[in-house]
């Protein structure tokens, strides 16, 4: 879409012959994107040519002037791009861009204003500063004509196109829409009934209040924020994708923050600098202090391989880079990542800016004094717990010691047995060779000759058990032969010898004994109180590192030192390098204040846009992570500004904004298309109806669990584990691999498997297959907007997946209980549970016909419960229906 619009605007610029083509406005962006890198930036001037100013183009390089004003045909610049000779890489200029350059030269190569002397002085042009997203947030007057300001702004643009709102949706549609929007779950038939029967004028507002008060609200909206924050329960980066044990506390903090309607300025400040709100040292922490430290987990969400075998400069640098990506897309709606290596090609973010932003985080993610994840943890252990744990460890160590003695004994047994099969003369030297702390050449040679002795080790003891068992059974056979020779003294002698021999081998059987001893120590250690940690971001007191611009982004090529600051285009006040009043530098606190002080043009806009997106299915700017030049322009710039300014004016509180949005006429419209709108506004950007929306992956799973009645609602805690099954699907379960890495059965999860999807472990490399199929994001490092795909594998899941089939059956059992011996009642109840409506017209009779047909088939197939199986299949159809997985 973006691509198309961009091209169109270029074409438009060309066709409007009257508008003069200007260097700063029209040409510089093209050259910046394609040419600056080799001709001007970083002191690089290939062919002695700098193209960053018109003056320099006229001056030219070693081949002469690059342009001749008024004569495109004689201008090298035009010739080179026209003939595809430049740029040299594969990416050539678009035809429209080439035409624009031609037009510019033909018009006399004009500039908007006199050019500065130093090309480095114009890192950001006036044109770039004037871009809409960098303008201060205005508080536009609300147009007349509607009670709700949102409606007023929307209607103004609709009317301009001769359009209007659609009619209001019916109450059942409305409560379903609102309930999914705010809680991510379907409304129950009882809730629907109550609302339908409530004819008071504030009935819908009451519903909104009830939903906003539900703990399920924080789970639903917390999940939206977790996408942007890049929440994951694993470290990523390396192949092992190690588990991230304590990330879930941040997830729970987010849920809590939404549920208590924490003002967003505070929410942002805590996430960026909660650690600076708590005075170190961090022990004996109070709950609110724990929360503030936990909040900084936001800055610890980026993939981090430095604790999993990749503690090197590149990996450390990557943690910083990904963290900046998360911060900039989530709170500033910009992709700053490009400026890591060079000035941003499209947005006014010079490379220098990237590093001044980086400097804000350098003291906490200091590559020179790097701390791997485990050493960053903050313990929540109390002194008493610590003492108890230490005492248990002392006892466990004793058990380890006992086991070691036993290991020594088994080695001795094994050695003496292996020596038996070796020529007598060699035994003694061989024993000495084996035992020797330092072996001489002779001993080494001897051992090489007898690998059966050399190979004996603690780790291989278990291997000998099989041989010993073999020996024992052989001896027993011999023993049996002697059983009836009790009179024979010789036989008795032999019997004694055999018994001693059997005892020798029995004593040598090591695995059971050692395993039991190891288990005993392990079990004892398991009685230690588990040490809880917070995954937080902190600085190292007193350390103030210097940040450098990295040449071409190479972390091993530091150049100029830079001071901390926000982006220049936003003209931030400088951020103090070090706040002496606190042990840390205070840079992040200052930055957070800068973002939330009410002056920042991006933060509030980006936030309200994202809230809007989750209510309407698309943002006012539909590139919620990119408000830059390549992002979309706002469909309703005034509304966006009004919302942002209203949000800030009223204390950055989201619940109030939800209510404002949801009580608008716009939100309550039907989704049905009409021909007039489709012809004028086919993408429904003007919102003359609401968009239908495919539920997110988690919502689909949660909705299935809800209608089956099996959902287990419990807030927070450790993630529900994910394991790989025998075909490589990732399913819920505790990993139980055998020695050859093959999956076995999971342990009983005791109902945890029916918890809401946001509690399912988010391991980057093991996305729950069910969620993966419905576009759950890959956290690399975060997700600004989820894609929605509609593909056959999803259909196959609804048709054949074990989870869906099992849940359909549970739902069917529930329906049988709800309406015993009333088949029609069961069908109607199922319909209402799943779709939020009662069956109308011939819907019930068609359902009945289907279930009867299936029942007959299952009877034929000797199904033990044909009625139930057929009802389950009906439930499965309901779950698979468009009306189930879409909210309209």
């Amino acid at each position: 879409m973006r691509i198309l619009l961009g091209t169109c605007s270029l074409l438009a610029a060309l066709s409007v012959g009257a508008a003069p083509v200007l260097f700063e406005k029209d040409i510089r962006p093209i050259l910046k994107e394609h040419c600056f890198q080799c001709h001007g930036e970083d002191g690089k001037e290939k062919g002695d040519l700098d193209v960053r100013l018109r003056r320099l183009l006229l001056e030219g390089g070693e081949h002469g002037p690059a342009i001749v004003a008024g004569q495109p045909g004689k201008s090298l610049l035009f010739q080179k791009v026209r003939d595809g000779k430049m740029p040299k890489d594969q990416k050539k200029l678009a035809a429209a861009e080439i035409a624009l350059i031609r037009e510019w030269i033909a018009q006399g190569a004009k500039t908007a204003r006199p050019e500065p002397v130093d090309p480095n002085a114009v890192l950001i042009t006036t044109e770039e500063r004037n871009f809409w997203a960098f303008q201060p947030i205005k508080n536009p007057a609300v147009p007349k004509g509607a009670k709700n300001p949102i409606d007023a702004f929307l209607l103004k643009q609709l009317k301009a196109k001769g359009l209007a709102f659609s009619k209001a949706a019916d109450k059942r549609t409305l409560i379903r829409r609102a309930t999914f929007d705010l809680t991510g779950l379907p409304p129950t038939p009882a809730e629907i009934k109550k609302f339908v029967e409530d004819n008071s004028p504030g009935a819908f507002a009451k519903i909104i209040d009830r939903l906003l008060d539900s703990p399920r609200y924080g789970e639903r909206w917390g999940r939206h924020w977790l996408d942007v924050a890049g929440y994951a329960d694993s470290e990523g980066y390396t192949e092992s994708d190690a588990e991230r044990a304590w990330a879930w506390r941040y997830r729970d903090y987010v849920i809590r923050a939404f549920n208590i309607d924490m003002p967003w300025d505070r929410f942002i400040r805590e996430q960026l600098a909660g650690d600076e709100m708590v005075k170190p040292p961090y022990n004996n922490l109070k709950p609110e202090q724990i929360d503030k430290l936990t909040a900084t987990g936001f800055l610890r969400m980026a993939p981090d391989g430095t604790g999993a075998g990749a503690n090197n400069a590149a990996a450390r640098n990557q943690v910083m880079a990904e963290t900046l990506k998360i911060v900039s897309t989530s709170l500033m709606g910009l992709t700053v990542g490009c400026a890591q290596c060079h000035d941003h090609r499209y947005d006014p973010i010079p490379q220098h800016d990237y590093y001044q932003l980086r400097a804000i985080f350098e003291p906490s993610l200091d590559p020179k004094r790097w701390r791997a994840p485990n050493s960053r943890r903050i313990t929540l252990f109390t002194d008493a717990e610590r003492k108890k744990s230490d005492a248990i460890e002392v006892e466990a160590k004793k058990l380890d010691g006992e086991r070691q003695k036993k290991v020594d004994f088994f080695i001795k047994q094994t050695l003496s047995w292996k020596l038996e099969s070796i020529p007598e003369a060699a035994r003694k030297p061989l024993r000495e060779a084996y035992r020797a702390k330092k072996r001489n050449a002779e001993q080494n040679a001897l051992l090489k000759k007898y690998p059966s002795v050399r190979q004996i080790s603690a780790g291989s003891l278990y291997l000998y058990d099989r041989e010993y068992s073999g020996e024992i059974s052989k001896l027993n056979t011999e023993r049996k032969k002697l059983a009836d020779k009790k009179e024979d003294p010789k036989a008795m002698e032999e019997l004694k010898r055999l018994d001693a021999r059997i005892k020798f081998f029995r004593d040598a059987l090591s695995k059971k004994v050692l395993d039991a001893m190891a288990k005993k120590a392990k079990d004892l250690r398991a009685t230690k109180p588990e040490e809880p940690f917070i995954r937080a971001l902190t600085e190292q007191p007193g350390k103030v590192p210097t940040t450098h611009v990295f040449y071409r982004g190479n972390h091993d090529q530091p150049k100029t030192a830079v001071k901390p600051a926000g982006l220049s285009v936003v003209t931030a006040k400088a951020i103090p390098e070090n706040n002496e009043a606190i042990p840390s530098t205070g840079r992040r606190t200052a930055f957070a204040k800068h973002l939330t002080a009410g002056q920042h043009p991006l933060t509030a806009r980006v936030l309200v846009n994202r809230f809007w997106l989750h209510h309407f299915g698309r943002g006012l700017v539909d590139t919620p992570g990119d408000f830059g030049k390549l992002g979309e322009r706002p469909s309703h710039p005034e509304l966006l500004d009004w919302l942002a300014s209203d949000f800030m004016k009223h204390g950055w509180q989201l619940k109030r904004l939800h209510k404002l949005i949801m009580t608008s006429d716009a939100y309550r419209q039907v989704s049905r298309r009409n021909a007039k709108q489709d012809s004028i506004d086919p993408d429904n950007r003007l919102l003359g109806r609401v968009n239908i929306r495919r539920m997110e992956a988690e919502t689909i799973r949660d909705a299935i669990l809800s209608v089956s009645g099996q959902i287990k609602n419990k807030i927070g805690g450790k993630p529900v584990p994910v394991m790989e099954d025998e075909v490589g699907q990732f399913i819920i379960g505790k990993e139980n691999l055998d020695g050859e890495r093959k999956p076995g059965k999971s342990a009983d999860l005791k109902g945890e498997e029916f918890r809401r999807s946001l509690y399912v472990q988010v391991r980057r490399s093991r996305k729950l297959s069910f969620l993966d199929a419905f576009d759950a994001p890959a956290m690399e490092p975060n997700c600004a907007k989820r894609p929605v795909s509609t593909v056959a594998p999803q259909a196959l899941i609804f048709m054949n997946n074990e989870f869906v089939i099992a849940q359909s059956r549970v739902m069917a059992e529930r329906l049988q209980k709800l309406a015993p011996k009333d088949p029609d009642g069961q069908l109607a109840a199922g319909w209402e549970h799943a779709l939020g409506h009662e069956p109308i017209g011939d819907e019930l009779s068609r359902a009945r016909e289907f279930v009867q047909k299936q029942t007959a088939l299952f009877k034929e197939r000797k199904d033990k419960t044909p009625e139930l199986t057929a009802l389950a299949n009906y439930c499965q159809a309901l779950m698979s229906a468009n009306r189930f997985v879409y909210v309209d």
């Binding site: 691509i3 092992s240 074990e802």
Partner: protein, 477 residues
Amino acid sequence: MNEFLANSTRRHFLSQNAMGIGGVALAWLLQREGLLANPVKPDLAAVAHNLLPKQPHHAPRAKAMISCFMQGGPSHMDICDPKPLLDKWNGKDFPEKIKYDNAAQASSKVLASKWKFKKHGQSGMDFSEIVPGFGSIADEICLIRSMRTGVNNHGQSIHALNSGRTVAGRPALGSWLTYGLGTENQNLPAYMVLRDPVNIPVLGVLNWSAGWLPSLYQGTVVRAREPRILNLDPPPHLRGKPQENFLEFLSALNRDGKSKGELDLEARIASFELAARMQTAAADVMDISDESDATKKLYGIDDAATKDFGTRCLIARRLVERGVRFVQVFTKNQFWDHHGNIINSLPASCKKIDRPMAALVKDLKGRGLLDSTVVHWGGEMGRLPVVQNEKSPGRDHNTYGFSMWLAGGGFKGGHIHGATDEWGHRAIENVVNHYDYHATLLHLFGLDHTRLTYKRAAQEQTLTDGQPGKVVKEILA
């Protein structure tokens, strides 16, 4: 549903990580207008992954591959790498340095092969008497006797041969191929795994894991019991008529008028129709009843010893015939890990696969498919020249020198490449490391192993991962 939607849906088929129907529709339109020739934002835009056929780097020789993986490590000196020196030294102490895996049964005594070798075909390739089938296709076989991974154990060596490095978490060869090339049949999974009905090999599902590539490129397993392909096949009680009724009822439910004009909803209806077609295609390819008796006999389906493996080889051929890119056929867990009783167990293992694999090569050739299909026989290691377990002799692991063979797809038939030392212990001549093998294989598929990349954690990742893999020119036809 209009034709445009049908097309775009089909194009979009199976792509999990793509943008959705709306996005594809636009991309398609734009492409038609030629406006996407130079995408404006290639390195920032989310990549839409799909399984549509892709253009390789250069003209390919091979289009598909059937890898018959002999997990456990077949004893090369008993099958295809004769070592007369072992006969001379039989029972004597092995004079060189050696590394054992099994400590309890380590022995230094040399073990001669129990089987007679004969030269086969015009090329005169040596095979022992326990693989007569191999002998019958000797002139199609490119035998590499100098394979080497040089790592310790089964798991690590499987990783090396299957995913380029000895660690878990990387994409399998089949995932790379489907990522790089897509597949020719959008109604079947691009990468299929025919596991042994008894159990799965060491490393389990990692053998067909997409690692950090999108899950779209993971191998799809054909299970030993119903439903044979999870999510694709219905559970037994819904097979056939019940599911037909279900889809009919669902379709009526979905065509309730509300979806009028909603492309997403219409696409969703189409996706169920497509899913049903895919089921039919899968059922059809698994059902070998339309194969002639002669073909079935060729594959040994008439013999209890070869029935299972033969059937799976035949299905593999049917898959490749229909455009599936990569098929793995596995023997069961440690089927070739002959630490003891090699005298009985090795011939039994060979019997299971020998006739079916010979049939596979002959059948492909007869159908004109061998030129474009690589058939692979081999495990993750070979065995040692010395005894393990003197009481019931077997051989311990050896990853320093072992054999495997390839046929078709541009490999040189009737050719022996490389050699182990006189003991069969270490590869010494023209050593082929796992990364050389990968570079060569990708080359035949038209791919340059350094250019088939996937960006992850700010780095361009490859199958060979910076190892000095070289295309082994000598084994190319």
